[in-house]
Symmetry: C2
Subunit: 168 residues, 2 copies
């Protein structure tokens, strides 16, 4: 299921990219600088939009890299415009495009760690379920909430994107 879930995340990164476009249109209509969005926050001590988008990108990128063992592209977290955030999102979509189901064959049993865990490890299975998945959706939804709170006209359909539905 790892590969399928990353496929879904890739789709949702595409949705995020559309919200950023909608935000640009909204700012242009209201005659304010669209890049102001990057520093908006829901709380004074919560990360602003730019960091939420970066974190949503990194969660997907690093999870795919850690669970597959394939190197991830580096990003310097220097985005200052919505155009640069678009490029960041597109770069992660392109990275996720390079995977096949086979890349995640050993994912569940991998030993995962990161610097802030002070030597502790998680299995790939636990890391994906308990850390990567909730974090990915956390930063994605917080980015959405920030735009929605500031007047950008996005709705649940823009969040979910097109569903694979069939006529009976």
């Amino acid at each position: 299921m790892y590969f399928a879930i990353f496929g879904q995340w890739k789709k949702m990164r595409g949705q995020l990219d559309k919200w950023l476009t909608t935000a640009t249109t909204y700012a242009t209509e209201k005659k304010f600088d669209p890049n102001l969005f990057l520093q908006f926050r829901l709380a004074p001590d919560q990360f602003p939009l730019v960091r939420q988008v970066q974190a949503a990108c990194d969660t997907a990128k690093l999870a795919a890299s850690r669970l597959s063992g394939k190197d991830a592209p580096t990003h310097e977290d220097k985005e200052q415009t919505l155009a640069e955030l678009h490029a960041r999102v597109q770069s992660v979509i392109a990275y996720l495009d390079g995977f096949t189901e086979k890349d995640f064959a050993e994912a569940a049993s991998k030993s995962i760690t990161q610097p802030r865990w002070e030597g502790k490890t998680m299995t790939g299975h636990d890391y994906f379920l308990e850390h990567a998945m909730p974090n990915f959706f956390f930063h994605l939804t917080t980015a959405y909430a920030l735009l929605r709170h500031n007047g950008v006209v996005v709705g649940k359909r823009d969040y979910l994107g097109t569903l694979t539905q069939r006529m009976p």
Copy 2:
């Protein structure tokens, strides 16, 4: 993986329950009615906290029911207090407690529909990935964002909960 993911959602419902307790403490300290939280919104035309919590509950409950074929408890969406929302959350945790891995053996190939889809269907696999999972985290994170935006002191650790980490 369905059963494992529902296990994770159950854990995150427990975290949500803690945020509601933190919100009650915060309101008591600041001397305002904690139940005011239920009607707070991030945008005038977005659902308030009470509906976000109900939707997070329903997404988990209905997904488990549809993918397993087991009846779900009904809830009337009449909560007016944080105590009633606590009870709603606990009721869904109790429902999720009743499942075993075997209940989801046929989940991926089930045919899923709901009234607003006008006769269209999704496979259990697509429904879970494209609809249930993003919706669950959407409503959970929006509930968190609403509390955070209104001053409740919750952080990322309260969102994720305890991680299954091992010393090497």
